[in-house]
């Protein structure tokens, strides 16, 4: 069992590295375009509400905490606490997506869309569509990861209710936990890069 646990953990970390490189490509693209068109990026980012970004940062950080508390509850065989922490994490992920929904619908309404779909009126700085191409690609891909994380956490809650996890066997809780922290980690970088340019 111990060897299986260690092996699956290495596999999980290798997967997380591929995730880092997947987002990394987008971050490098963002860095290049930001370096080439700083004025367009700074003008475009003012369309984002940093308070909503900060709220979502808080929500994700707390959800990372409740997730790791869930891992702790599984490690100490506390079924009730495990289900409680996993459910809290699930709800916080839902809150994140609701905030994201309001942000996205506001941008759709204003025509702040990527690439050739950009239709915002009254711009004084040219080329702001570039920022929104990166904004939607990066936060969109991140949002898909949050949704997949919610599916994985729901699966954990189902299995926890059946009493599958204990101090002897908690691998899946640990793996989903690692994934969830990576999603949090990516948002930690997205927040200042998207919302707080100056």
């Amino acid at each position: 069992m111990d060897q299986q646990f260690e092996a699956s953990k290495i596999g999980m970390w290798l997967f997380l590295v591929t995730e880092v490189l997947l987002f990394g490509g987008l971050f490098v693209g963002y860095g290049i375009m930001h370096a080439k068109h700083p004025d367009a990026f700074i003008a475009a980012h003012t369309h984002l509400d940093w308070r909503l970004g900060a709220l979502n940062t808080l929500v994700l950080l707390v959800s990372s905490f409740t997730m790791v508390m869930g891992v702790w509850a599984a490690q100490t065989s506390q079924k009730g606490k495990l289900i409680g922490y996993l459910s809290t994490t699930f709800v916080l992920a839902g809150v994140f997506m609701v905030v994201k929904y309001f942000e996205y619908s506001h941008k759709f309404h204003e025509g702040l869309l990527p690439g050739k779909f950009y239709a915002h009126q009254g711009d004084t700085v040219e080329g702001q569509f570039m920022f929104f191409s990166f904004y939607f690609m990066m936060t969109g891909l991140h949002g898909i990861h949050v949704l997949l994380g919610m599916v994985a956490i729901a699966w954990l809650i189902y299995r926890a209710q059946k009493g599958h996890f204990s101090s002897q066997y908690y691998g899946p809780v640990d793996m989903v936990g690692l994934y969830w922290h990576l999603v949090d980690l990516i948002w930690i970088y997205l927040f200042p890069l998207m919302y707080l340019l100056s």
Binding site: F65, K116, P192
Partner: protein, 134 residues
């Protein structure tokens, strides 16, 4: 490869302290964004983010007690760093990002699918030409 066989279990107290640290660093993230460090703005923002990331990786992801997987993860970050730094070196030492076969920026792509030429967005309201191409 060295593995301790009993898994380290970190307690709720440590996790709560780490969360408190992360929340304080979030306030710092927002706070430093108000100052203008010139070209260092992004660097400062990434530095604060990296402190937060280190807390998450070391404590929440247990890399503190997981040296082998820490090497895997840092290896991935290293290659991301190589990718980023070399790309930025390339971009910052070029006078133009155009391929050598092109003399000026492409304003339309005639070879687009279904024979529909694609006009790259100028970022200006529809029907208005860009004011001055660079």
């Amino acid at each position: 490869m060295e593995h301790t066989h009993d898994h380290h279990i970190t307690g709720p107290k440590t996790y709560a302290l780490v969360l408190a640290g992360l929340l304080v660093l979030t306030i710092i993230t927002v706070w430093v964004a108000q100052f203008d460090f010139g070209a260092m703005n992004t660097v400062v923002a990434l530095l604060v983010a990296s402190f937060k990331g280190a807390l998450v990786a070391l404590f929440f992801m247990h890399l503190r007690h997981d040296k082998f997987n820490a090497v895997i993860f840092i290896g991935g970050l290293f290659f991301l760093g190589v990718f980023l730094i070399f790309s930025l070196f390339d971009i910052s030492t070029r006078t133009t990002v155009l391929p050598s076969s092109l003399k000026e920026p492409v304003r339309a792509f005639p070879g687009a699918p279904l024979g529909k030429p694609v006009q790259p967005s100028t970022g200006m309201p529809k029907g208005q030409a860009p004011t001055s191409p660079e």
